[in-house]
Amino acid sequence: MSETTTPPAVFTGQSITKAGTAFQPRVFKDNAARWVVWVGGLGVIAALLLIFFYLVSEVAPLFAPADFKSRPTYAVPGQGKTLYATVEEQGQIAMRVSDTGAVTFFDLNSGAVRHAQQLALNGLTVVDVTEVSAERGELAASLSDGSILQFSHNYDISYPNDKQLITPSVRFPKGEAATAFMPEAAQNLVVRENGDSQMLFGVDAAKSIHIKTFSRSENAITGETTVEVAGELNFKPAVAADLLLVEPLLAWLYVIDQKAGKIAFYKLDGAAEPKLVEVKEAGSEISAAQYLSGGISIIVAQTNGKVSQWFPARDKAGEPYLARVREFDLPGDAKPTALGVELRRRGFAVGDETGRVSVYYATSKRLIHSEKALDTAVSQVTFNPRAQVLYTESVDGKVHAYDVHNEHPEVSFAALWGKVWYESYDEQQWLWQSSSASSDFEPKFSLSPLAFGTLKGAFYAMIFAIPLAVLGAIFVANFMSPELRQVVKPTVELLAALPSVILGFLAGLWLAPFIESNLPGMFLLLILLPVSVPLFGYLWLNMPARVRYLMPAGWEGALLVPVIALVTWFCFGVAKPIEAVAFGGNMQAWMDSTFGIKYDQRNALVVGIAMGIAVIPTIFSIAEDAIFSVPKQLSLGSLALGASPWQTLVGVVMPTASPGIFSAIMIGLGRAVGETMIVLMATGNTPVTDISLFSGMRTLSANVAVEMPESEVGSTHFRLLFLAGLVLFIFTFFFNTLAEVVRARLRKKYESI
């Protein structure tokens, strides 16, 4: 502020501001103090700003594009045509099964064969390979004589000389012998396991479907397993059976006619013949179809350059139908030739005839990445179980793999804010449901219901708080006697110090049950109070002057305390008889049956009141300051010209003070939006989008408080919670700054008057 001036040298004989050659402790101290304050002060301010940058740094990866790093291209090792290819968990070794029955494990980087094993086929060939369990690496091969051979690919990890070594092997958990299934080779083999029984699905040359159920029992003493045929069924589907998809839970069956582009949707019914639900047109020829992870959605690659996602939904009558949920466009409308799905997320990759591979994410409807991987059409595309490696193979036998860094595919603007049609739902919805016990669960990351809940809570709180706080501020600043003001203002401001956890507790455990059993009283109070007060004013005016002069001027507020108490007592007293007469003794039941309004005990009304009480002191205090500091000459001038106090207030004081009141409301809004404990305790915390006064909500802040401790660090969920925090931060910071700027200008204005 003020510069250190050189003092006259007469006092000490030496200047203290000019550092001489000798060590001068006072100068040193002065400089040291300056440095300490500079560094410390700037450090503290930097630390505060760090909050913002830290939040941004946690959120930023959500919007970073996925990273695909190419590995070398080489010719596919081993002989024969690839029927099945995959990459193990660590992304080091790939495995392929060819039509000759050769299982080849090779190094994904170089193509060098690590292990090769020929399945014992006795001269047969492999027609089709299907996954029995992708997690356990179990496969089933359909042989040319109609039998089935089951085997698994396993990877043992050891650490000789502290270096990781992966040893691949082929095992036969279901026995080395092939099981007879169909009289001729089974095309489109599907194997589903259900406890100890296995259900096999296959298509013969005449395009009819064979279903066979095996039950497996183990002899407890000898350890021998015996396999018995538990059921067998053949049927001719409504469309040509080119592709077959069976739901893992064995409820639905999809039969796909590739040429005609038709999907026949069947309901499986145990041993009985499947019932056709409907046949859908895809819109063009179908080149491939697969189940997405989770076993609910199927994706269908169409030759018109589209990939469509379908799953069973129910119509309004509750009847199931096959819903075409969303559609993905391939770049350049190329004809897709291969599909590959992620094992643990709703991601998939599509290879097309030009050799291009595109990676999509279903829920967020996002094209994550698209790249020309190969020179000829893609024949195989697959992910490793962690979805960190993408494997592509071309029809002319070239392999090209990628290291994939795709952490947050679930996030897109549409998925965060728009309505999304989630699996197992019958329509598009806004949903927030971040986690579940099962890994098959599709996370639902829509911030809309949370933002909606936040605004709803703040809205009702402001409706409650603004009239009370602003009108109260007007009276205290303008009409109240100074002695009373000295008591009332600090008392109301004390409310600001009340911890929100206590307000929340009272709201949840006292106010909510109270309102529930006194709902008519609440409404009655809402009507009667604003009516009775002016009425009392009128009565008071007509009192004999002797009585009126007992009250000093500016004590109206104090006079009203017993009036309000009396009205309140009266309202709650008569409410129950009224409820008994008008609403059959139970207003909630009456509302439900008459208007269909559902009543939650912890609802927006409770939150509005509790949070309103929390923001009243903030708004009151700032608004009162703004009104009180309106220069006195303005209002005195108005009064001197004959205006009534109310006219002076409306015509002179309020226009001058209104920016201050505006900033008070903004700051109150900021507090209501960020309030955590009250909404956490006084609402049911269900993320619904329902504006009703009688339903609950879940706010951004309460959501963070509930879910943050359980969230996995670095996951999409974790970062989305930080995004919620960032949104809150920016929102409140913006409104507070706005309010601050308005107030600063107002102060300047007052000074100039």
Partner: protein, 568 residues
């Protein structure tokens, strides 16, 4: 300012239209608004006090019968908690069989206690069906270590399985035995906390030292003496533990000696070890003085004892301790840095638009939702800083985190950041109020800027700093949302301050009054039983915070007076 003018127009406003035209109805409405605000404030304080404080009063126990029409009468031995008017329709929808002749019924909430026998402590009963009421003097209320209170009668007192007193003498015979049992229990706690704690800590240290050796690459072959030293230490602790274990076993056997045979009102007989009983009293025979005595003894237990039964009984001492310690740690962090930042902004920075922007930004940070600070604390302090500290200094205990998990240090740092704006703003305000003339006088007498600040400005601004600090403490003490992320737990096994080296355990989790309210009120299995305790806890917290705020306001006012004098 315009207070007297209201009456100027009074004469011609006695008709309704004139009254409305004068604007007075609106004035009355504004008056009503402030009255409502005032009533809400006072009512909130009154509500917490009125609901929490009576809980410790040893209420009379009512003996009666509950005669539901068409069913056999059930004997009752209950405390009346509250009563309310409920409409017949609501009662019927809740399953009561009533006819519609009377629109309302009085419903009582009663504490039946005996949770082990009846399943629940509380019941709703219709007042009109409670008949044959009496208040027998020999009803005894037992506070137990488990299963909540017991209401009943003492039938016999047993020692080593033999009956030593029964009937009317039982109460008198029981009293000294309970004193003995309580002493034994205290002794047991003293051993568990004072002896076993350090032994466990020592054994853990030995284990970690062993892991450290292994991490340093020392094997039993390459460093035999180091491992031998470890073994010796371990054996030493084992021996000490064995000694304490024997002592404990003896004590426990001692405690098992006495028992009470109790009879519930429905005739069920129950035998209870005295070690299971915390306190017993006969409320119906107690005089006012005795009741007051019990009231304060229970109140003291509430403030000074550990919680029991999932926090729904007993005291809240660990929560008080945790709150106080966290707030003190926070003050240590926030005071110097807040003052430094304020000094920088007011005294050293060039006053211009940039400084003004920083000032507004800092000011506005006070309005950022506290949960955002909690997220910052969790992500930055706990995961980032704590994780790195663990990797550097506590490698031997990984993967179990030491500082890489929420704890009191991170909680107080988070709250320090949260309250920094409060301290900065208050201190700055104090600095701004010091008249320029005083500074100039100091400088003109030859003092350096640092000397002026240190000797003149800071002492004069100290009340402002105090105000800032007190406001910060008041805010921190009531803040819960960020703490839920950075270190608060519902039940901490040990305090962050104890007799085990290094005495202050900043990495430990802690309990907090505010979180205690949330947890017991909303996550507790027995909300009805816990509710009065939550009200009492709330009242305590409110009291502390209001006292802090009032003192801050008084300090601020005094400060203003002081500078008025200076300016004048």
């Amino acid at each position: 300012m315009t207070t007297t003018t209201l009456d100027l127009t009074a004469k011609n406003t006695q008709t309704v239209s004139a009254y409305v035209k004068s604007g007075q109805p609106y004035v009355w409405l504004t008056a009503a608004a402030i009255s409502v605000c005032f009533i809400i404030t006072v009512a909130l304080l009154f509500l917490t006090a009125a609901r929490g404080m009576p809980h410790f009063w040893p209420a009379d126990v009512l003996k009666a019968e509950y005669a539901e029409p068409g069913q056999a009468a059930i004997p009752l031995l209950v405390e009346l908690v509250s009563e309310e008017e409920v409409s017949t329709a609501r009662l019927k929808s809740a399953g009561a069989k009533l006819d519609d002749s009377v629109p309302f019924h009085t419903r009582d909430l009663v504490k039946v206690a005996n949770r082990d026998l009846l399943g629940a402590d509380f019941r709703y009963l219709l007042d009109e069906w409670i008949v044959n009421r009496s208040y027998p003097e020999d009803v005894v209320v037992l506070e137990r270590a488990e299963w909540g209170n017991f209401h009943g009668f003492i039938a016999e007192v047993k020692q080593d399985g033999k009956i030593v007193a029964s009937g009317a003498e039982a109460w008198a015979a029981y009293q000294p035995l309970q004193v003995r049992a309580n002493q034994l229990r205290e002794k047991l706690h003293a051993i568990e906390d004072g002896d076993i704690g350090p032994i466990n800590a020592g054994l853990e240290k030995v284990r970690l030292d062993g892991r450290r050796l292994a991490l340093e690459g020392k094997t039993k072959e390459s460093a035999p003496e180091a491992y031998a030293a470890l073994d010796i230490r371990k054996a030493e602790f084992d021996a000490r533990y064995e000694k304490v274990r024997i002592e404990l076993a003896a004590l426990k056997a001692e405690m098992k000696r006495d028992a009470l045979v109790l009879k519930a009102v429905d005739g069920t007989v129950k035998e209870l070890d005295l070690s299971q009983i915390i306190r017993a009293y006969r409320p119906n025979e107690m005089g006012l003085l005795a009741k007051i005595g019990t009231y304060f003894s229970k109140l003291w237990e509430f403030v000074a004892a550990d919680p029991r039964e999932a926090n729904t009984e007993g005291g809240i001492f660990p929560a008080i301790f945790g709150t106080v310690m966290m707030v003190m740690l926070m003050s240590v962090f926030v005071t110097p840095f807040g003052i430094l930042a304020a000094l920088y902004l007011r005294e050293y920075a060039k006053q211009g638009p940039v400084t003004q922007m920083i000032r507004i930004a800092v000011n506005n940070l006070a309005g950022v939702p506290s949960i955002v600070y909690g997220m910052f604390g969790l992500g930055f302090f706990v995961y980032f800083m704590g994780g790195n500290i663990d990797r550097l200094f506590y490698e031997e205990s990984l993967p179990a985190p030491t500082f890489g998990t929420p704890g009191i240090l991170w909680a107080s740092l988070t709250l320090a950041i949260l309250t920094l704006p409060v301290v900065i703003v208050a201190t700055e305000e104090g600095l701004a109020r010091i008249p320029r003339s005083i500074r100039e006088a100091s400088l003109s007498l030859g003092a350096t800027k640092a000397e002026t600040l240190w000797k003149i400005v800071l002492p004069m601004a100290s009340p402002a700093m105090m105000t800032g600090l007190i406001l910060a403490i008041a805010r921190a003490a009531g803040e819960v949302a960020p703490l839920m992320l950075v270190g608060v737990v519902k039940l901490a096994p040990s305090l962050p301050l104890d007799s085990i080296f290094p005495f202050v355990h900043l990495e430990r989790k802690f309990m907090h009054l505010g979180f205690h309210i949330y947890d017991v009120g909303f996550q507790s299995p027995n909300v009805e039983a816990a509710r009065p305790l939550v009200y009492a806890t709330s009242f305590l917290l409110v009291l502390v915070i209001i006292l802090l705020n009032i003192s801050a306001i008084r300090i601020r006012n005094r400060l203003r007076e002081k500078y008025k004098a200076l300016e004048g």
